[in-house]
């Protein structure tokens, strides 16, 4: 190991008090930017009364929590509906995204760029009029206000992530392993089932997580297609916010934050750097 006499350490690597102070200040600012809004939400969730110009709530309490979680309250029902819809959306999306991702990553596909762009469409177009038009069609065929209708809308929107990440996951599998299995006489299906799919599983789980969260958080499509029978958690939260009831909306927002932050904490276990590097290629 040669020393590096010529390489002067950058100012940021110096253990000088000034550099340390600078780093700490930047980190503190970033921490405030990230946690400030979350802390504010937490305060609102436990505030009984809070108005101008008080810096903190005048009175803390759990009154609003009882209201949200009362047996006849609709928050728990909405939570159940949201999770059930998200699970169905994941199952449906992966069923079509796995073959599609494999084809995009491994097979010679005509118009590959155009196909990738097609999957980008549901994220590329302001969804509102699309949902309005879907709602009109679904109304005629009896899918409006049904779980299936909402799942179909969520799945078409979540497919971009499912397909892109599945494709990246398959692309990051070492092809020489597949080649070895094929040379030893495995059929393409056996090779896919026993070599490619297990190696791509972490990436596919990540893709499932993304689709689950997309569905859990989806707002506009549910509003138009789910009406009047399907009320998901984001819809409940939005109504509370617009109604000026910050306590109810903050508590509902906290419920939505739990899965979001939970998945954030584990996502890198599934989404490795080698898969990330393949996204969009």
């Amino acid at each position: 190991m040669a020393t590096r006499p010529l390489a002067l350490p950058s100012p940021f690597a110096l253990p000088s008090p000034l550099a340390m102070l600078l780093r700490a200040a930047v980190l503190a600012l970033l921490a405030f930017a990230i946690f400030g809004p979350l802390l504010n939400l937490l305060l609102w969730a436990f505030a009984e009364r809070w108005y101008f110009p008080n810096k903190l709530p005048i009175e803390f309490g759990l009154t609003y929590w009882y209201r949200v979680f009362q047996p006849r309250g609709n928050a728990l029902a909405s939570l159940g509906t949201s999770v059930w819809i998200a699970l169905l959306t994941v199952a449906f999306s992966l069923a079509v995204a796995i073959p599609a991702g494999y084809a995009l990553a491994r097979l010679k596909l005509p118009w590959r760029g155009a196909i990738l762009l097609t999957f980008l469409l549901p994220q590329a177009v302001p969804n509102l009029p699309v949902y309005v038009n879907i709602a009109q069609v679904f109304y005629q065929i009896g899918l409006n206000g049904t779980i299936l209708g909402v799942v179909l809308v969520h799945a078409s929107h979540g497919l971009v992530l499912a397909v892109w990440i599945a494709s990246a996951a398959f692309a990051s599998v070492d092809a020489s392993l597949e080649e070895a299995s094929r040379n030893l006489g495995a059929s393409p299906w056996t090779c896919f089932r026993t070599v490619t799919l297990p190696l791509a599983t972490p990436g596919l789980i990540a893709s499932a997580i993304f689709v689950f969260l997309e569905s859990l958080d989806e707002f506009t499509g549910t509003y138009f297609v789910g009406v009047p029978d399907v009320t998901t958690l984001p819809l409940l939260m939005f109504n509370a916010t617009m109604g000026g009831n910050y306590q109810i909306s903050s508590i509902t927002a906290l419920l939505l934050l739990i899965p979001s932050i939970g998945f954030m904490l584990v996502v890198e276990r599934f989404l490795k750097a080698d898969v990330l590097a393949m996204v969009g290629r």
Partner: protein, 294 residues
Amino acid sequence: MRGSAGEGQRQHPVITGKASTRGAALALIAPALAVVALFFVAPLAMSVVVAFRGKDGGFTLEHFAKSFDFYTTDLLFTLAIVVASTLLIGAVAIAIAGYLTLGGNPRTIAVLRWLYRWPLFIPFVVAGQLMRTFLAKNGMLNHVLIGSGLIEPLSAQSLLDWRGIVVAFVWKQAPFVTLLLAGAMASLEPQHIEAARNLGARRMSVLIDIVLPQVRGTLLVGLVLSFVTMLSVLSVPLMINPNSPTMVTVDVAYRISTHADYPVANALCLLSLALAAIGAVFYLRHAAARVEGG
């Protein structure tokens, strides 16, 4: 694209140009395409028809004329907000991912890695609610600014206008692009970076001259996805800045809910699509450059 093997690229075992392989590939991808076609492209086509159809059933441009009459400001406002947010997201992502890859202080890197990701999966509708209370005149931001003596109590102002939308967008989307970018940077050949560092290159020039060019594609994909995502968000502008000038998505919702004016709503949607096409062009140009460059 895939087969253009540079160093470290793998050759794929089953790639042949034969029609049967192509048929199999198309069969595998058909169900996914069908879902998008049925539940997205078809309603979008309906939207085009409605936007260009006059009362007599013939072709007309009056809905677009009306859209420009009423909403030119909002279209520009939307474009400005989304472009500004995209640029800020890119700057934040490069700064954080760059420090994670090249930074000299291990403890700072560990804290930063733990810190930046919190908003990653927080939904837009929740981000809107967070900022609606945080950035309000009586919100926590102003209380902290006043408490630390940075502003006078009387000069505290609500940030719930275009600034609030930009803050909410950057807060929510920057971690996503950072995650993609840091992943791509982590998979670079460490020797290149080491070599440059050994030759005495400063951290900043290593980032700009060596690291960034190699992860340009990933950065662009992240930014394009963010750009088009932000264009279609309804909840954030509706919660933070519902009054004029506002974003086109709010206008679309308004045309439908208040006037049941589907033609103009659909025309506005197509104009947003034109804005989103700018993002698509960026991606296509990048993809084309890669095919040429190998």
